[in-house]
Amino acid sequence: MTHTARRLAILAALTSSLGALIAAPADGNAFTVPITYYKLPNGLKVSLSRDTTAPLVVIAVYYGIGFRIEPKDRTGFAHLFEHLMFEGSKNLPKGEFDKLIEGNGGVSNGSTRFDFTNYYEVVPSHVLETMLWGEADRMKNLTLTEENLKNQQGVVGNEVKVNVINRPYGGFPWLDMPQYANKNWFNAHNFYGELADIEAATLKDALDFSHTYYAPNNAALALVGDFDEAQAKKWIEKYFSAIPSSKLPARPDLAEPRQQSEQRFTKTDKLASKPALAFAYHMPERNTPDHYAMILLDQILLQGDDSLLHQELVKKRGYTDSVDGGINLLGNQFDYNGPMLWIANLIHDASVKPDQILAAADSVIDSVRDKPVTQEQLNRALVKFRANYYQDLTQFGGLGRANLMACFSLFDDNPSSINNIEKNLRSVTVDSIHKAAQEYLRRGNRTILVVEAGAPAKATPAATGGAR
């Protein structure tokens, strides 16, 4: 769902991990991220976190519109609109925004998620003012034209083709599973979009959408990096304060009914050469004690070679080489604001049947429901989480930190709650994990997706042509 896979590829190759001006108490307690938070009179939520490890700054603008609540007859529209945000604004005609970023040594991207659409730049710190001006310009003065819409319908159509239609296991399980597991349309539609819906989008749709959702009172700005706070505040005031706010529609009811019995679906993937299997459980509500317990259960069951599912399905049974998945496959355990799934998925040989795999998976899932995990398992889960989390807070110039700051501003009006994450995880006990496992890892809370391989088992491309 990203604006360009190319840009993501660049970032992935960089694997930037900046050190932070994070206070590190010697007693092993939680780290504290410095956060300044305020709102402009027009409603824009601003959070700042300074970090001088490298001369870089992350500018992140998040809008409180994700694909979950896009118009019902326009699947994929939130994402199509994300593309239009790169197609030119009053002072930066098409192409000029990207040139301004790359031409000053930075990278940028956008992505559409369940509950927000984000735009960010990672740039040398001396370019901060320019990028604030550029982000404000497209918030205030986006230029929407038939020509650009048509062009991006072509680009987005190609994005869906390369990631889903022409790709084995395309959409498995990240795009498929929410559609099978959920019952409420907002959580259960094809959010990448049907090609027909993407083609049918009109300029009027884009104008309506822009006017409704792309306004400062539906947005959060987060800065992380090497900047002067007083100076940054002045620039933010200068460029963003005159943008008018909009009247936001009421948020629709996103609730999912409590699932009572297990669901099972089968699909055939014509391009896949091996069968695959995924299973998913509805998560507890975000930011509750059960949510934190599930975060550690995910570490215990699914993350890393020591995890119970890896040990059982990969090492002991040899059913697959890898069990993947987690909480929120389009983000992380924290950056969503509605119903969510915990998903595990794997690819296996046709000689092994889905029920064999499920029986083996259940042997370890049932083990954490039958009796509490050990304190040693819980400790290991917490250490694994912390090591990953610290890297996330500092990667790509601090993009992971900006992500949480912007999300917690949008969802909870409280980016400082980033500093409660470790504390909340440390208060999870073997008993609270046991209780959460009993409620949320119920069979009745589960959806199973079986993928049958529709391609010939052996792919030996026949090449033609020759040397001149």
């Binding site: 360009t4 896979a5 190319r6 190759a13 960089l14 930037s16 991990s17 050190g19 590190a24 780290f31 490890t53 490298a54 001369p55 870089l56 009053k90 930066l92 040139k99 301004l100 790359e102 031409g103 990672v122 040398p124 001396h126 370019v127 003012e129 929407l144 048509k150 062009n151 072509g154 680009v155 190609n158 994005e159 083709k161 022409n166 790709r167 084995p168 300029l203 104008l207 050469s273 890393g304 070679d305 020591d306 890896h310 090492k315 040899g318 080489d321 690819i347 040989d349 290991r380 250490v383 090591a387 610290y390 052996k458 792919a459 491309p461 090449a463 033609t464 042509g465 040397a467 001149r468």
Partner: protein, 454 residues
Amino acid sequence: MKFWIHGLLIAGALIAQDSRETPPQIGTPKPFNVPSGETYQLKNGMRVTLAQYGSVPIVSVRAVLDFGNANESADQVWLADLLAEMMKEGTSTMSAQQVANEAARMGGQLSINARSDTSSASIDVLSEFTPDAVKLIADVLQHPKLPQSELERLRGNLLRQLSVQLATPQAQANQAFAAALYPDHPYGRLYPTEEQLKKYRIDDVQKFYGANVGAQRTHLYLVGRFDPAVKSTIASAFESWVAGPSVRRSPPQNIAKARSIIVDRPGAVQSTLRLGLPIPLNPPDADYIPLAVTDAILGGAFTSRITNNIREDKGYTYSPFSQVATRYRATNWQEAADVTTKYTADSVREILFEVNRLRKDPPDTKELKGVQNYLSGIFVLRNSSNQGIIQQMAFVDLQGLSKDYLKTYVQKVNAVSRSDVQRITETYLDPAKMTLVVVGDKSAIGDSLKPYLK
């Protein structure tokens, strides 16, 4: 109401022609130095580099091993991968599960991967566990169990991965492109056959380990936050390791020869393209950095010419990009794109149009400066993480570059002239010598590609 908004925005767009604001003045760049750290050698020939970086309590420990798929013979394809998998299966004193638990206890995950020129064993852990992480890597490298009992399971995994990967058009395209550029060389053999994979026995794996792993072929990097006293742990963990084999590399001949290969993928809605050629330039050569600048102008950046043409102007594709792919004494340039089937020939035509345009006329100063700034900025980003720093240092080591390569990189990027770019394109990017690979629906593409086939 909505009509009114519509009119207002359109008016705004028209007015913009005249009353456009210019961006605020850009400030002055702050200096940035790549941490160089300290490098030394143990008596057995193993190299060690230590560099403090960042302030989160994380350290990256990575042993870069001087062997990879390039050390495989024609009947050993993916034997290096099988060895890497086997090395995770426990040591003489620890079971595989104990290794996994020990890594997790430190917050990390042991990762062992084979790549073409080098392989690696690495782990990122909380700083307090640095000595334990060094010991774990040392044990896994020196005393791997390589157990027969796990061979069939791991072979099954590789067979499954082979099948899954070769079902993707991108893997099919890469395979055909590599085979065309590097015939009779390991760089041209990306994938084994199933029959080949089924033949490897445990003693093949053990022999491959003996022939390729040892102190002389190892460079241990620690980058992040750690107690410098870890040096004594490194000494005691690695000192008694045998020197082992010396480094051996046999680069291919780099001969550009026009070819075209069409791989039929009936029903495909997109064609997967690779267009490019080997280039007789290596990182130590003066023209190598100018080649990187040229690539960024052509297709290596989002604002590059090819991306602008076939994506932002024509909408043929989503994620086109070009790259200078660099291995040991083997460099190639390639453009890659997945394009809507009916625009297959149009896309090839436009890519070639952009190459030819740059062969004739140099870029203007503004375009060149933008790309130089881009590469300078990306350089900072690339060198501002533990893993990124290790990657850069390992590149310098592998390619035998001078100590000041990273220090002078930005300066060299900015010294490239307009005429350099035109000369580089003209000299090295000759369409008449390029290999074209198309993976797509042959019947739908029909004769449209004929003008471009060799």
